[in-house]
Symmetry: C2
Subunit: 272 residues, 2 copies
């Protein structure tokens, strides 16, 4: 999917909501466990009830990988079920030397047909570039994450007084464009997003931290939005586990709708 | 596997050889393609012919992931076929927020039964710690890699004049011990290994760069070995693709034996 199509969808749905499919056998409603593929059955109903409000779906690959080959089949079926006009993110945090990253790219962009994948920057250019060579596919590079451990290395001052995450933002813009490269930016601090936005004014940010992980949507929009929205804000647990009963799909839809309404207003106020 | 057992195996076999199972359908001998599981059949024969000379096997997970669910089955079968006294490394470069890293740990340590996994440090402590909580399992943390892109961030000077990889080495030693934490250290520069060794005198290093990626084994041993060897030196393509004919297993064994003989001498000279 190209950037214009993504922005068109955002405008059409008045939403920049990404629904995180962190689907966990121990958390889904128990009546699903008798299904042949409970994970897919859960995702299917979540997608049915949230697709009108979401512009992206983000399966967290670890949840599927932890189930072995069967998990990969559930993932593949889920991906095929997602409507084609909705952006898909493989939240996989991959990254390795060139020939290996190329294989990961094949896994997620050819073997499966994801629009994007999250990538870790530690190994530098040749670990990221292979993902950027696929037309209409995206890298979402870790810049500043929202977890406690982000303080260990990402905010360290490097030469020239730049924190490491700024080095990642600046250097990676030599490798890709705002048409094939996005960044993961933690949501918990509005002013911090404003600072990150200065170093990447035109790129989309994937913001993982609204909902169970905390973070104010208003702050994120106020400090992070640009003229093509520039934000995909993820919510996982707050939506998909809104109910543990048979109505989980309906309740997920209600939560997604709440966020979409809030987002519609924020797009009006800040998408300029 | 605990550290003493690993060192015992190194002494018993007079070897610190790790064989990288970067098994690629397009590179294996064509007569194997008629097998039900050509990848496993190839790995099986490689293991049969190299197990006497190797103390570790390292499947590069990307190669299996790129083949979809079937690839994971080949990986699982390969892992089960490796003799139990040989250390196994999932070269997966994983790392995510705590609850997600925990699932990756389950995938590789429970769903499969690897002894260790390579992990990327960018997200800090809570992305690494979940892997360290499994008894007799290991994290092999990226410190200084051997690829060109290692220069982009890993060698940046951080505050206190320390390059980033040194920060990774120092900080991570607060999270784990030399009994559950190793480091990936690129092999191409002997003096650089000496520098890294200063910051982690007792830990094992996984050295990925001998063979097709270049790097001198003698230099690595001279500058990197410690009193419990402290090195696992990987060779992938130089061994597993030594022949593209029906004799590929035998030829792989011969290459592994050559390296083992060299290693026996180096252990005598430098393991003190």
């Amino acid at each position: 999917m190209d950037k214009q199509t993504l922005f068109d969808n955002i405008q059409k749905k008045s939403s920049f909501l990404c629904v995180g499919l962190d689907t966990d056998l121990s958390k889904i409603p128990s009546h699903l466990l008798k299904e042949a593929d409970p994970i897919f059955e859960f995702n299917k109903q979540i997608i049915d009830h949230t697709a009108d409000y979401a512009v992206a779906y983000k399966p967290n690959i670890a949840f599927y990988e932890a189930m072995g080959p069967k998990g990969w089949e559930s993932l593949q079926k889920t991906l095929e079920y997602i409507p084609k006009d909705i952006f898909t993110i493989a939240d996989a945090k991959r990254g390795d030397i060139g020939n290996t990253s190329k294989l990961y790219a094949k896994a997620f962009f050819e073997q499966m047909d994801f629009d994007s994948i999250t990538v870790a920057p530690y190994m530098g250019k040749d670990s990221v570039s292979p993902f950027l060579e696929f037309a209409d596919k995206w890298v979402i590079l870790l810049a500043l994450t929202s977890n406690e451990g982000s303080k260990d290395f990402q905010i360290l001052d490097t030469n020239a007084g730049k924190p490491l995450f700024q080095q990642v933002l600046e250097k990676s813009q030599e490798w890709g464009t705002d048409g094939n490269l996005m960044y993961v930016v933690g949501a918990t601090r509005g002013e911090k997003i404003a600072e990150v936005r200065k170093f990447a004014p035109h790129h989309f940010f994937l913001v993982p931290g609204v909902g169970a992980q905390g973070g104010s949507l208003e702050e994120v929009a106020k400090y992070g939005m640009n003229s093509t929205c520039g934000l995909l804000v993820n919510s996982s647990r707050g939506i998909i586990y809104a109910s543990a009963e048979k109505d989980f799909g309906v309740k997920a839809g209600e939560e997604a709708f709440k966020l979409q309404k809030e987002m519609a207003k924020l797009l009006e106020d800040y998408c300029k």
